[in-house]
């Protein structure tokens, strides 16, 4: 059963202004915007309203009524800003909250109200909290967006809960404008003496369409639930999400841990049932003061192990500052993949697909930061520093085989270090070389192995590599940059150490 809530803020702009500028509390003010060469009132504070100032009035007229009235400039998009803020705040009550410009919010509250102990308590809580922020509201809950909207704005009392299936009866007595019609249609209806929805609700559809256009029928169908009306949520809903509202604000670490454990258990139960595992999880804590704190973890393999995930989160719980208390916990899994079968772990020898190994990596990246774990695969490049590329996935296999027969050092310096070299004749390996002030006499040498620079990647000279061994038996990998040209000093570098 779908249930929707419409919240109408009759004085959104005025109250929003008052919330932003509390010093205006005891003064009379209007918000005005230029319109056709004069200032027109767009919002009025409640006290000024009592003096007879209404929306749409010229500021000069308002000044005539109340001499010392304060006129504030309207900010464009202010109402949208206010509604977006309120909408985000409402996410603590339901994951689907949408703004309804210019002065309302629409929430999909299906399956949410029971967490607050019924719709009455739910509405009361929302209304009281909004009142605390200084907003007057009218709220209605109905089975369709259209009916809730209509009842919130045109209903008799500030809170209306339409019992399921009763929307039609409750809409009967409301004026046609409650159906969110265009003004021309409303005027035409009124001209024909149709002051409430009831009389034309049962008219033939073809007649209505001919006289008032298809818009009226659409709106009526939406209000009665015959036609789907999608909401555009402020925050896209994550399909894998668990929520835990708290009766009392939580301030302690153990409290947060219990909440996390509970959420993980329910989420993992669901993942196990569906054969899925999560790759990324976000734990959000909504505080009493409206702030949201969040911590995020990632895994290397899809995981459905609550204990493992808890371990990963445990390292980050410190980052949550509860301040005055947390009233709602949300656990989301934005990235979910098909879980691998657990059979692979039967082999004792740990392979890269092993869950245990993946859990270790999760633990490492969770504590020490991302980008510390590397796995290399061969790549088709000439230069040694480019001949490996980083694997994106743990399970990624090399597409080409590792080259075999080339002499390659055990340790390769990230940046080749310049050395001073004495070489007897062109193209000969050096006799001596000096690295970091230390002289090495070459006893044995192999080479050169010419490695061309890759012109399609970067400019530069080729390298002639020599494997050399000094008098102590230490083996090095040296190279000369470019051709040997007479009279010019040539550059030599140390690039690696052989075992």
């Amino acid at each position: 059963m779908r249930r929707f809530m419409a919240i109408w803020f009759p004085h959104l702009l005025a109250e929003g202004m008052l919330r932003r500028r509390p010093h205006l509390k005891d003064t009379l003010f209007v918000v005005a915007t230029p319109d056709h060469g004069r200032m027109r009132v767009t919002a009025v504070c409640q006290a000024a309203q009592k003096q007879g100032i209404t929306m749409g009035m010229a500021v000069a007229d308002a000044r005539a009524l109340v001499a010392n009235i304060q006129v504030l400039d309207d900010e464009p998009q202010l109402s949208l800003q206010l509604l977006t803020g309120l909408g985000h705040w409402c996410i603590r009550y339901t994951p689907v909250a949408a703004t309804d410009v210019p002065d309302g919010l629409l929430l999909d509250i299906s399956g949410c109200a029971h967490l607050w102990g019924g719709e009455e308590n739910y509405v009361e809580d929302i209304q009281n909290r909004l009142k605390g922020f200084g907003y007057t509201t009218r709220i209605a809950i109905a089975g369709t967006v259209g009916a809730a909207w209509a009842l919130a704005r045109y209903g008799k009392s500030p809170v209306i809960l339409a019992p399921p299936g009763e929307e039609r009866a409750m809409l009967m007595s409301l004026p046609p404008a409650a159906l969110r019609l265009e003004t021309t249609v409303v005027e035409r209806l009124q001209k024909l003496g149709l002051y409430t929805i009831g009389p034309f609700m049962n008219m033939g559809r073809s007649i209505l369409r001919r006289r008032f256009g298809v818009g009226l029928l659409d709106r009526m169908d939406q209000a009665l639930g015959w036609k789907e009306e999608p909401l555009k949520p402020l925050r896209p809903v994550v399909p894998y999400q668990e929520r835990l509202p708290c009766l009392e604000p939580i301030v302690t670490r153990s409290g947060i841990e219990i909440a996390l454990q509970q959420l993980l258990n329910t989420l993992c139960e669901r993942l196990v049932k569906e054969g899925k595992g999560l790759r990324k999880a976000v734990f959000k804590a909504y505080r009493v003061d409206g702030e949201a704190q969040l911590v995020e973890i990632g895994t290397h393999l899809p995981s459905q192990q609550a204990t493992h995930l808890f371990k990963l989160f445990e390292l980050k719980i410190d980052q949550i500052a509860p301040a005055l208390g947390i009233e709602l916990f949300v656990l989301e899994a934005p990235s979910v993949e098909k879980a691998r079968s657990s059979q692979e772990a039967l082999w004792h020898n740990s392979t890269l697909n092993d869950t245990k190994l993946a859990e270790l990596l999760d633990q490492l990246t969770g504590k020490l930061g991302k980008g510390i774990v590397h796995r290399y695969l061969p790549d088709e490049h000439y230069w040694p520093e480019r001949s490996v590329r980083e694997a994106k996935e743990l399970s990624e296999q090399p597409t080409i085989t590792w080259p075999k027969d080339r002499p390659r050092p055990m340790r390769l310096l990230p940046v080749p270090e310049p050395v001073e070299v004495a070489a007897p004749i062109p193209d000969y390996p050096p006799m001596h070389f000096r690295h970091r002030g230390k002289l090495h006499t070459v006893k044995k040498a192999d080479g050169p192995e010419r490695i061309e620079s890759e012109w399609w990647i970067s400019d530069g000279k080729h390298r002639d590599y020599y494997v050399v061994e000094d008098e102590k038996g230490e083996r090095y990998w040296l190279f000369r940059l470019g051709h040997y040209t007479e009279g010019k000093p040539h550059q030599w570098f140390l690039h690696g150490f052989f075992a």
Partner: protein, 244 residues
């Protein structure tokens, strides 16, 4: 009588090793480490897996030699298709270089960490993962407390750990099962050919729990550690060059 006494002594030695946290060599992997004459130095003549080994090196070239030696042991431990973790401060191990020691480079997980604390933490966490073929970490130095923690981790999981101390300040005692110092030695060519030949090392086993320390000259030949034949010691002093 003599035989009975020998048996008793052997059993007691085994018991002592167990009490010291070293597992009896039931692990099938242990037998695969072929270290030639060095094996005689180990208790029960089997390379102690499920323990932390400590390697000391003082120069970059010696560090490279030690990495090669560790890679040789690790290669035999990884024969069954296992994987290993190599923790170092930066990207310096060249994956292709590991191939010559029988390691599939894509089975190695490299972890780059700058801080010594983090390396210790990561190594301890990795050593607790049962089934890993080995964990290597390059640390400037190792103190007793850390080595004790690492030893406790491997006693539970049976993973073999290798700590490469490349800036040892003082050689104070650690809880590691052995201490090695590997230094490079003039390469060996079986056919006395010019040019740089097979990798050779001076292997010094300075400490081994329950075994006899010693020193050897080893060469990495045909995928195994072998004793360096004496011939190569009389190497010609002239600079010889192989064109290639």
């Amino acid at each position: 009588m003599d035989g009975v006494q020998k048996d008793i002594v052997a059993r007691l030695q085994k018991d002592i090793l167990c009490l010291q946290g070293q597992r009896p060599a039931t692990n099938s992997l242990a037998g695969k480490v072929v270290l030639g004459p060095v094996l005689d130095a180990f208790p029960q003549k089997v390379f102690p897996t499920g323990a932390v080994h400590e390697y000391i090196s003082t120069s970059p070239a010696a560090t490279a030699a030690t990495s090669g030696f560790i890679a040789g042991i690790l290669g035999s431990l990884m024969q069954n298709g296992g994987s290993c973790v190599w923790i170092s401060p930066e990207k310096i191990i060249f994956p292709e270089g590991l191939r010559s020691f029988g390691i599939e480079p894509d089975r190695v997980l490299f972890i780059h960490l700058k801080k010594e604390r983090d390396i210790c933490w990561a190594m301890e966490a990795a050593l607790q993962v049962e089934g890993l073929a080995g964990v290597v970490s390059e640390l400037p130095d190792l103190n007793f407390t850390v080595s004790r923690r690492l030893q406790l981790a491997v006693e539970k999981s049976g993973v073999t750990g290798f700590v490469l101390r490349h800036q040892p300040s003082k050689l104070h005692p650690t809880a590691c099962v052995s201490r090695w110092q590997i230094s490079p030695f003039a390469s060996y060519h079986p056919d006395q050919m010019p040019g740089v030949g097979l990798a050779c090392w001076n292997v010094e086993l300075q400490k081994i729990r329950g075994g006899k320390p010693g020193s050897w000259r080893l060469v990495w030949m045909d995928g195994y550690f072998q004793v360096l034949p004496e011939v190569s010691l009389i190497s010609s002093q002239t600079l010889l060059r192989k064109i290639g």
